[in-house]
Amino acid sequence: MGAKKECIAMLLAGGQGSRLGILTHAIAKPAVPYGGKYRIIDFPLSNCTNSGIDTVGVLTQYQPLALNEYIGSGQPWDLDRMDGGVHILSPYQQIKGSEWYKGTANAIYQNINFIDRYDPEYVAVLSGDHIYKMDYSEMLAFHKEHDAACTIAMMEVPWEEASRFGLMLVDDTGVITEFEEKPKNPRSNKASMGVYMFTWKKLRAYLIADEAKEGSSNDFGKDVIPAMHNAGERMFAYRFDGYWKDVGTIDSLWEANLDLLNPKANIDLTDPDWRIYAKNSALPPHFVSKDACVQNSLVSGGCCIEGNIDYSVMFANVTVEEGANVRYSIVMPGATVKKGATVQYAMIAEGAVIESGAVVGEDPEQIEDLANWGVTVIGSNVNIGENVKIPAKAMIAEDVKGGDAQ
C-alpha cells in the first residue's frame, strides 16, 4: 500500500453508448474521437490532473481494447505516478464468483478494495462521456466547507430542455431538497452533470447497503443517491457555469465538435493553464495546398488539405483532395475525401474513404421536411464508392460500391 490520498477519482467508462450507433461498434464511448485531436475521456482525465487528483480508476467493461491502449501508462495526462496514477479496472473473478458491472454503483462497489488501498477521505465519481473543463478541487473545497456527504455538480439549463435531464430542487443554502428524473413538467432547471463528490466513509456504507438490497438496479442516480437523500444525508448542489455537454448522441457529438468553432460556445481549449491533454502520435504540421480554401475550421497535424473546407473539424492525418468539399462535418483520423467528393453535415469515422464524386449527407436547407434530416455517419474504414449519394441521417457500416444507389 502506498501513500494515503485525500481524494481519488473513479471514472465510469464502461457504457456502450449505443445511441452513438456505429461509432461505438468497436470502441467504448469514452474512446470516441472529439475536437480534432482528443478523445472524450481526455476531458475528465485532464480535469483530474489539472485539479490535483493523481489517482484515477477507470471502470471499463464494454469494448475496452482501444481505451486500454489509449490510456496506457497514463503518461499523456501526467498520471504515471509512483503512488496512484491511472488504473484500468475491469470486472474480475472473486472468491464468491464473478459478475459483470451490473450498474454504475455496482461498478464502484466491486472496486471498494481498490479505493481502500489509498484510504481516501473523498471519492469523485465522474462519467466518461461529457465535454467540460472543471476544477474538481474547487468542488472538493465546497464539499468540505459544507461538511457534505455528497455534492453533485449542477448547471442551469434552458427551461425548454430541462425535461431531458435529471433535475434537482435546491434551497438557498445549496442543500438539495428533491430530485426529479427527466420529469414532463420540470419544477427546476438545475440539472445534474453526472459529477459527484462523496465522503468515502459514507458512500462506502451506502454501496454495501445497496448491494444487499433485493431488486436494486445498483445505479447511482436511481438507487444510491435517493437512498442517501431519504436517509437525510447532507447533500449539496455545486453550481457550474462553464461549457458542459453530454455527447451521448450523434447530433450532440456533432454539435459539440462544431461548438469549438463557435466563439459564443464558451469552450476554449487554448488556455495554457487548463490544457486538455491527449495521447499524441508524432505528426508533422498539416499542409494546406495552393488550391485549398479553409474557412472557420479546425485542422490537426498530419492532414493534407487540397480541397475546400468550411465549418468543419479535421482530425489527424485526414486527406482532402483537390476539388473536394467538406462542410459542417467532422472527419476523424486517417479518413480520406477524394477528388470532387462532397461531405456535408456528416461524421466520417476513422480511416473511412469517400471516393471521388460521392456525396455524403444533405444540407438541411435543401430538405423539405426537416423531420427527415439528421447528421449522416460513415463508419470506420468504410469505403463509399465513386458518385454514390448517401442521404441525411443514414448510418453506413459497410462499404458501398460505386454506382450503387442508397
Binding site: P76, T270, P284, P285, V299, S300, G301, M314
Partner: protein
C-alpha cells in the same frame, strides 16, 4: 545484427556559428525547423527508429533550450531505466575550450562516456542535415562491405562549412580520395552528410592516436589522413537532405518542405520524426482566413492571409495580416493589417498592427527571439 549494439552520439553544437542570431540563444540542435521540430529531432529520431537505445548528446554552450527540449528523452522513448538519453555538457572551462576546436575536442572530452558504454559500434551525427534516413540500412551496408568506417554522403552543392569533406573518388562504395572543400568551391559534389559509423574500439584508438599526435581536426587528421589505411566506405543518401550552412539555406530548406515530394521523403510512414509534445489544440482557421501552400502547426489561430509559409506552433495571424514566404517560429504574433514578406521570425516575435517588413527571396529579414516590432 543487434540494433542496440550501436551507441549514438550527436554533436548538438556543430556549426553553431553559421546561423548568426538564431544560434545566439540556442545550440544548432535546438533551432526550430519545419513547423513542429528542432533540428536535433531528425537525427535523434533516425537513431531511435533504427533501434538505438543509448544516445549521448554532446553540447558545449547555449544548451539551456536544448535541455528543455530533450528533457529526459521521453518523446523519443529514451527515458529508460537502462541506457536511454545522456546529456553531455562540458565539465570544466578547460573542456569548453577544447569543444570550440571542433568534433575532435568534443569527442576527447567524452572518452569516459565512450569507455563506459558496452556497445560495439558507434554512429556519430551532426544536427544540421535534415533527413529521414534508415540507419539500419546504413549499418547493414557497413557490415556487408566489411568497412572500417562508413560515411553517409549526398550529391549536391558543397556546404559552406569549415572542414567539409568531399569525396573525390569512390569505387564500389570504397572511398579512394577525399579532400576538404575550400571556401570558394562551386558546383555539385559528393559531400559528407556527417553521419559516420565505426566500431567503438576503432574510434577510441583513433582518438588516442590523434591525442598523441596533437591533431586538431577530426575530418582532416583522422578521416582524411586514413583514407588509404582504413577501409572507408561511402553510403549515398539520395532522398531529401538539405544541409544547413547559412540563414539562406535554412530559409530555403524550410520552404522545400512545401513540395509534397520532399514531405513524403522526410515524413516517412513507419519512421516518424518525434519531437517534444506540447498538447496544443488543432489549428483554428477563422472566417475570412486565406491560407495557401503552407505548413501550419498545432496551436495556431489563423485569421489573416498566409501564403508559401511555415508557421510553427502557437502562432497567431490576426485579421487583415498578410504573411508571404515567411518562417514564423513558435508563439509568433502578427497583428492586424501587418504585412510580412520573406522574413524569418524567431520565437516569441510580435509584429504590431499595420507594420510592414519585407526581405528579398535571396536575403530574408531575420527578427531575433522576443523582438517586438
Amino acid at each position: 545484427m543487434r540494433a542496440n549494439n550501436i551507441l549514438g552520439i550527436i554533436f548538438a553544437n556543430a556549426y553553431d556559428n553559421v546561423l548568426g542570431g538564431m544560434t545566439a540563444p540556442r545550440a544548432m540542435g535546438s533551432v526550430p525547423f519545419g513547423g513542429s521540430y528542432r533540428l536535433i529531432d531528425f537525427t535523434l529520431s533516425n537513431m531511435v527508429n533504427a533501434g538505438i537505445d543509448k544516445v549521448g548528446v554532446i553540447t558545449s554552450n547555449n544548451y539551456q533550450s536544448l535541455m528543455d527540449h530533450l528533457g529526459n528523452g521521453k518523446p523519443w522513448d529514451l527515458a529508460r531505466k537502462h541506457d536511454g538519453l545522456f546529456f553531455l555538457p562540458p565539465f570544466s572551462a578547460q573542456e569548453l575550450e577544447r569543444y570550440n576546436s571542433g568534433r575532435l575536442g568534443a569527442l576527447q572530452n567524452n572518452t569516459q562516456f565512450l569507455e563506459m558504454s558496452n556497445e560495439e559500434y558507434v554512429v556519430m551525427s551532426d544536427c544540421n542535415a535534415v533527413m529521414n534516413i534508415d540507419l539500419r540500412e546504413v549499418f547493414r551496408y557497413h557490415l556487408e562491405k566489411n568497412a572500417d568506417i562508413t560515411m553517409v554522403y549526398r550529391y549536391g552543392s558543397v556546404p559552406k562549412l569549415n572542414n567539409r569533406l568531399v569525396i573525390d573518388k569512390i569505387t564500389d562504395g570504397r572511398v579512394c580520395a577525399m579532400s576538404i572543400a575550400t571556401a570558394d568551391r562551386e558546383g555539385d559534389a559528393n559531400c559528407a552528410a556527417n553521419i559516420t559509423i565505426m566500431r567503438k574500439a576503432l574510434l577510441e584508438s583513433l582518438l588516442r592516436e590523434a591525442n598523441a599526435s596533437n591533431a586538431a581536426s577530426f575530418e582532416r587528421d583522422v578521416l582524411l589522413k586514413n583514407v588509404t589505411n582504413l577501409r572507408i566506405f561511402g553510403y549515398e543518401f539520395k532522398e531529401f537532405c538539405p544541409i544547413i550552412d547559412s540563414i539562406q539555406t535554412y530559409f530555403d530548406a524550410n520552404f522545400a518542405l512545401l513540395d509534397e515530394k520532399n514531405q513524403k521523403q522526410l515524413f516517412v510512414r513507419g519512421r516518424p520524426i518525434y519531437t517534444k509534445v506540447y498538447d496544443d489544440m488543432p489549428v483554428v482557421y477563422g472566417l475570412g482566413s486565406e491560407v495557401k501552400n503552407s505548413l501550419v502547426a498545432d496551436g495556431c489561430v489563423i485569421d489573416g492571409i498566409v501564403e508559401n509559409s511555415i508557421v510553427f506552433r502557437n502562432c497567431r495571424i490576426a485579421k487583415g495580416a498578410v504573411v508571404r514566404n515567411c518562417v514564423i517560429m513558435p508563439s509568433g504574433f502578427v497583428a492586424d493589417d501587418a504585412t510580412l514578406a520573406n522574413c524569418i521570425l524567431d520565437k516569441d516575435v510580435t509584429v504590431r498592427s499595420g507594420r510592414t517588413l519585407s526581405g528579398a527571396e535571396t536575403y530574408p529579414v531575420y527578427l531575433a527571439k522576443g523582438i517586438r516590432v
